[in-house]
C-alpha cells in the first residue's frame, strides 16, 4: 500500500512538473527508470534531480537525441572548432543541458579530429 502511494505521488509530482503532459506510457520504456528496488527510498521530497547524462557517453547522447529531429551528421563533416559552434546552437534548439552538450561536443570533436 505504501509502495502504491509513493508511486502515485511521484507520478503526480512529475506530471505537474511536465505541465500536464501525460506521457507515463513512454516512461515505462525509459532505460534509466529504476525498478522496485528504487521504490524503497523513503523520501519523496526533495526529488532526486540527477542528470541521466552523467552515466551516458557523448556518442550515445548524440546518436539518440539528434535523430529525433534530423538525420545524423557525420562527425567528419565539420572540424572540431566548427562543432563547437554547432553544439552551442543545437544545445539551444534541442533543449540540451550543459552536461549533455559538453559530452556530445567532446565526442564529436574527438571523432572529427581522427
Amino acid at each position: 500500500m505504501t509502495f502504491i502511494t509513493y508511486k502515485m505521488t511521484k507520478s503526480i509530482a512529475l506530471t505537474g512538473a511536465a505541465v500536464g503532459l501525460l506521457l507515463m506510457a513512454g516512461c515505462a520504456a525509459n532505460k534509466s527508470t529504476k525498478p522496485a528496488a528504487a521504490a524503497a527510498k523513503p523520501a519523496i521530497w526533495p526529488l532526486t534531480l540527477k542528470d541521466p547524462a552523467a552515466n551516458e557517453s557523448g556518442a550515445q547522447i548524440w546518436a539518440e537525441n539528434c535523430m529525433r529531429c534530423h538525420e545524423l551528421r557525420s562527425p567528419s563533416q565539420y572540424t572540431p572548432a566548427q562543432w563547437g559552434v554547432i553544439i552551442q546552437y543545437m544545445r539551444l534548439k534541442a533543449g540540451l543541458t550543459g552536461v549533455q552538450a559538453k559530452k556530445v561536443l567532446a565526442f564529436l570533436q574527438s571523432a572529427s579530429a581522427h
Binding site: K10, A13, L14, A17, A18, V19, G20, L21, L23, G26, C27, A29, N30, K31, S32, T33, K34, A38, L47, T48, L49, K50, D51, P52, A53, I61, E64, N65, M67, R68, C69, H70, E71, L72, R73, S74, Q77, A81, Q82, G84, V85, I86, Q88, Y89, R91, L92, K93, A94, G95, L96, T97, G98, V99, Q100, K102
Partner: protein
C-alpha cells in the same frame, strides 16, 4: 598511497594553473608579449598532456582497485572516486582555459540551406522556385552565442521578382547548465513543428505544411529564457522556452466562401501596427530520447487599426515527435503530429459593442518510413512519407466556429543522397469545405543543408 597521489595531483594542478593565471594577467599587445603568451600556451599544453596521462593512469588503477575489491568483498572506493572526479573537473576546467587562449577562439560558421523546386499547383501556372537561407553563427566564447539567418527567395508578381527576409538575429547567453537567456529575433517554439523543422527544408520529409503555414507563428521578436533539465528520478528530461515578444496584429481576411473574419497576423515587427506584447512558451517532456511531447501557449492582447480596439487571443498547441529505428523493421520509422487551436476573444469596437470572436483549429500528422537497414543499395536511402493536415478556419461570427475547412492528404517519396541532401517528390490532394475541390499540387524539390 592515496595521500601521495593527492600531493601529486595538487602539484600538477598548481603547475597548470600558474601559467594560465599569468597569461590572463599579462596585458595583451606587442610582439614580445605575444611570444611570451605563446610560450606559456605551449608549456600549458605540455602540462595538460602530463595531467591527462596521470589521470588516465589513475583511472586504470582505479579500475584495478575496484576489481580487486570486488573479489575481496571490500567496498570502500569512495575516496579514490572523489579524487578522480576532482581531477577530471580540474582537467576540464584547464582545457577550457587553454582553448580560450588558442588563436581564433571566436568561431564563425556559415550554415543554412539551399533548395530549389518545381511546383505545379492547380489553378496556377507551374513554376520553378529557388530559396537560399544562409545562417551566420558565431561562438563568442563558451557562454555567448550569436545567430543570424537570412532568407532569399524567388517570388512571383513581377519579372525577376525576388524577396529577402530575416529569419533570425539573436544573442544568447548560457547562464548555467540548465538555462540560457536570449534576445532578438528567433524561430517561434509554438507548436514545436516550426522549431524542429526550421531552418530547413533539408530535414523535412514533405515540402509544405498548412499548420506551420497558416496557424503557427514563425518568429518571435523579444526576450526569452530556455533550457533543459533532468526530470525527477532520472525519468528523462524536461525542456522549456518562455518568451515575451511583440504581440500579433489583428487583421481582417476573407475566406474562400467570401466570409470576412479576423485573423492574427504574426511576425509583427512594426510598432505602428499595435503596442500589445505577447507572453508565451513551450514545455516538453522527453521520457526517452526517441519521444518528445510538447505543449505550448501564447497569450496576447492584440489590437488593430480601425474600429476594433482591443481583444484577447490565446494559442494552445500540443505536439508529438518520435522515431523508432530497429533491424526488425529494417530501418527507421518517424512520426510527428501536432494540434493547434487559436482563440481570438471578443473585441470591443468604438461604440462599445462586441464585435468579433472566433476560433481556428488545425493539425497535422506525419509518418515516414525509411528502410535504412535493409541492406539493399539505393532502396536504403529512400523514404516514403505521408501527411494528413487540416485547418478549420475562423468564423465571421463568434457563434459559428469553423466557417471554412481545408483538408490535405500528401504523399511523398524522398531520396537521401546524403545526411543533409534530399531529393523529394510530393503530391497533395486538397479538399475544401462544402465538398469543394481544392488546389491539388505537385512538388519536386532538391534541398541541401550546409
Amino acid at each position: 598511497m592515496t595521500h601521495k597521489r593527492r600531493i601529486l595531483i595538487s602539484m600538477a594542478a598548481a603547475l597548470a594553473i600558474m601559467p594560465v593565471a599569468a597569461a590572463w594577467a599579462d596585458p595583451a599587445g606587442g610582439g614580445a608579449d605575444y611570444k611570451k603568451l605563446e610560450q606559456k600556451y605551449q608549456l600549458l599544453q605540455k602540462q595538460m598532456a602530463t595531467m591527462a596521462k596521470q589521470m588516465s593512469a589513475m583511472q586504470k588503477q582505479q579500475a584495478k582497485l575496484k576489481a580487486t575489491q570486488a573479489k575481496t568483498g571490500a567496498t570502500n572506493t569512495k575516496a579514490i572516486d572523489r579524487e578522480v572526479k576532482r581531477l577530471y573537473r580540474r582537467v576540464m576546467k584547464d582545457s577550457q582555459k587553454i582553448s580560450d587562449l588558442e588563436p581564433g577562439n571566436i568561431q564563425v560558421l556559415i550554415a543554412g540551406d539551399v533548395n530549389f523546386q518545381f511546383q505545379n499547383v492547380q489553378g496556377s501556372h507551374s513554376t520553378f522556385y529557388a530559396d537560399s537561407s544562409p545562417m551566420i553563427q558565431v561562438r563568442i566564447d563558451k557562454n555567448i552565442f550569436v545567430n543570424t539567418a537570412f532568407d532569399f527567395y524567388t517570388q512571383g508578381g513581377a519579372a525577376g521578382g525576388s524577396a529577402a527576409d530575416i529569419g533570425a538575429a539573436n544573442i544568447n547567453y548560457e547562464l548555467n547548465n540548465n538555462m540560457t537567456l536570449g534576445g532578438g529575433l528567433i524561430t517561434s517554439p509554438i507548436g514545436g513543428i516550426v522549431g524542429q523543422y526550421n531552418p530547413a527544408p533539408w530535414n523535412r520529409w514533405l515540402v509544405d505544411g498548412s499548420l506551420e503555414d497558416a496557424l503557427l507563428p514563425g518568429n518571435e521578436l523579444g526576450v526569452w529564457t530556455r533550457g533543459g533539465l533532468p526530470a525527477p528520478d532520472k525519468m528523462g528530461y524536461l525542456t522549456y522556452f518562455l518568451f515575451v515578444s511583440n504581440g500579433p496584429a489583428l487583421t481582417s481576411t476573407t475566406d474562400q466562401n467570401g466570409a470576412s473574419y479576423n485573423n492574427l497576423q504574426f511576425g509583427n515587427w512594426d510598432p505602428a501596427a499595435q503596442n500589445g506584447k505577447t507572453v508565451g512558451g513551450r514545455f516538453s517532456y522527453i521520457p526517452i530520447p526517441n519521444i518528445e511531447v510538447g505543449y505550448s501557449f501564447e497569450w496576447a492582447r492584440p489590437s488593430a487599426d480601425g474600429a476594433i480596439t482591443t481583444t484577447n487571443s490565446l494559442i494552445n498547441a500540443v505536439d508529438f515527435n518520435s522515431y523508432y529505428v530497429n533491424k526488425k523493421i529494417d530501418g527507421l520509422f518517424r512520426f510527428r503530429g501536432g494540434w493547434t487551436w487559436d482563440q481570438v476573444g471578443q473585441g470591443v469596437d468604438s461604440t462599445g459593442a462586441f464585435s468579433l470572436g472566433g476560433m481556428s483549429n488545425g493539425g497535422q500528422l506525419e509518418v515516414a518510413y525509411q528502410p535504412s537497414l535493409c541492406g539493399i543499395k539505393y532502396i536504403d536511402k529512400m523514404m516514403a512519407a505521408f501527411r494528413y493536415d487540416r485547418i478549420d478556419g475562423p468564423a465571421s461570427s463568434n457563434f459559428s466556429n469553423g466557417a471554412s475547412h481545408e483538408q490535405r492528404y500528401s504523399i511523398g517519396l524522398d531520396y537521401w543522397l546524403h545526411s543533409n541532401a534530399v531529393l523529394k517528390f510530393e503530391y497533395e490532394f486538397d479538399n475544401l469545405s462544402n465538398n469543394l475541390h481544392g488546389n491539388n499540387a505537385m512538388f519536386v524539390q532538391f534541398a541541401v543543408g550546409i
